[in-house]
């Protein structure tokens, strides 16, 4: 049995997609429908040609039945994505993208391809961005072994990316942590060690990390 508490496998891809489906998108309905008072919120009323904000799962459900068109989010335009890709290549930092950008774009490609202008371009841009970012993650992780790292800041990492590096990162950090603390104990013994912790809690220093 895969242990549930082992958080190296905290979320499955399907669960991440489930979470992403709650992100809001804009749709343009082609039918009339009264407001929906759902557990997850109130949406609508829906009038033909009048844009409405709905969660992605609702948009996809309507789209599947041919009841609306989905307006792709602003960041999914060729122009925006080209900028992101360039910046992603030029800089060591991760560019700001929606937390669920992988899942959202995937869902839209699957269910609303005709609503996305230049879909081939958009798709390949997103693929490229994903590749560049994954490569960066790979090289970025080398940092863990080079210097003592207690905490890792994963700035602008998306849900899917964080989930993929989770098993490796959490195990690696934990192992380094363990090795470090077992080294420290024989020197000072456990009780003085604890007193020192209490003092150190007041310290304010700046994270090196990434």
């Amino acid at each position: 049995m895969a242990s549930q508490s082992d958080n190296s496998v905290a979320f499955s891809a399907a669960e991440l997609e489930f979470l992403a489906e709650d992100e809001m998108v804009e749709i343009v309905p082609n039918m009339r429908m009264e407001p929906l008072n759902l557990i997850s919120g109130d949406f609508g009323p829906f009038r033909p040609q009048i844009a409405a904000q709905v969660p992605l799962w609702l948009a996809v459900a309507l789209k599947k039945r041919g009841k609306c068109t989905i307006r792709p989010p602003e960041w999914m335009s060729v122009e925006k994505l080209t900028q992101v890709l360039e910046a992603e290549r030029d800089s060591e930092k991760f560019q700001l993208l929606p937390f669920h950008y992988v899942e959202i774009s995937r869902l839209l490609f699957d269910h609303a391809r005709e609503d996305i202008p230049d879909i081939y371009m958009v798709r390949s841009l997103i693929e490229d961005i994903k590749d560049v970012r994954f490569h960066k993650i790979g090289t970025g992780l080398e940092i863990i072994s080079k210097e003592v790292t207690y905490a890792l800041r994963l700035k602008n990492l998306s849900a899917m990316e964080a989930n993929i590096v989770r098993p490796f990162v959490t195990k690696a950090l934990q192992t380094f942590h363990k090795l470090n603390t077992t080294e420290a104990i024989p020197e000072s013994g456990s009780i003085p060690n604890r007193q020192r912790q209490a003092v150190n809690q007041r310290d304010k220093r700046v994270l090196k990390g990434r």
């Binding site: 429908m33 997850s40 150190n200 304010k204």
Partner: protein
């Protein structure tokens, strides 16, 4: 580490209150589910939230039934049904995650009153049965055949000082977490570590035990 550490970060209580008012139960349930899934140990059972979610689900089930009787158009009906299914999934997955943790750590949870009190009444009943069954199983299949002094299901031998055969969650495990707002510099509890500046909406990989109070007070979410 003592939970007093979190008290330094009480700034922005008004924000909390505001966001609490505007946060729906659906959001809260999602958060509880995420935290429960990502945390190594069992968290406090969200009694009120689960109760409210149950009521909402029931209400929605009645609405859906009514709709189907009154001939509301099938599209609307199916959308309500989908929303209902999503909430049901969250609630079930939340409860199941907890049951799984209880199964894994039943003995450990039972030993510790604080942990034991985190369970709901039904969960406590489940844990008790789990413990009874495991005990009985271990006893019948192995322990009763072992020499005297090795018969405990909690200890390797009667010489062991602690209960060293009880699986415990690893609290020094790293988790990935995110705060909705700036928490300032945060000292991890072990000696010689540099404090971490926790910025709003950034992901961090941190040891679970050092951010535990922040998870419990809802200042930080596990991702």
């Amino acid at each position: 580490m003592d939970s007093g550490d979190a008290s330094g970060y009480s700034a922005g209580v008004d924000d909390d209150y505001e966001s609490l008012l505007s946060t729906t139960d659906a959001e809260l349930l999602k958060r509880a589910w995420r935290n429960e899934k990502a945390a190594p140990e069992i968290l406090q059972y969200e009694t009120a939230l689960v109760q409210r979610s149950r009521e909402q689900i029931q209400l929605m089930e009645e609405t859906v039934e009514e709709f189907s009787k009154n001939g509301v158009d099938p599209l609307t009906l199916s959308l309500y049904q989908m929303d209902l299914d999503r909430t049901l999934f969250l609630l079930r997955s939340y409860l199941r995650t907890r049951l799984q943790k209880i199964e894994n750590y039943a003995f450990h949870i039972q030993k510790n009153t604080d942990l034991w009190n985190r369970l709901s009444k039904q969960e406590q009943k489940f844990a008790e049965r789990c413990i009874d069954d495991t005990e009985q199983h271990l006893d019948q299949s192995v322990l009763s055949k072992l020499p005297h002094g090795f018969k405990s299901h909690l200890k390797q031998s009667s010489l062991s000082l602690a209960d060293d055969m009880v699986p415990e969650p690893q609290l020094d495990q790293y988790v990935i977490c995110r705060s909705k707002k700036f928490l300032g510099s945060f000292q991890l509890d072990d000696s010689g570590e540099e404090p971490v500046n926790i910025e709003a909406n950034d992901l961090y990989a941190l040891p679970y035990k050092s951010i535990k109070p922040l998870v419990e007070s809802g200042q930080i979410d596990l991702v």
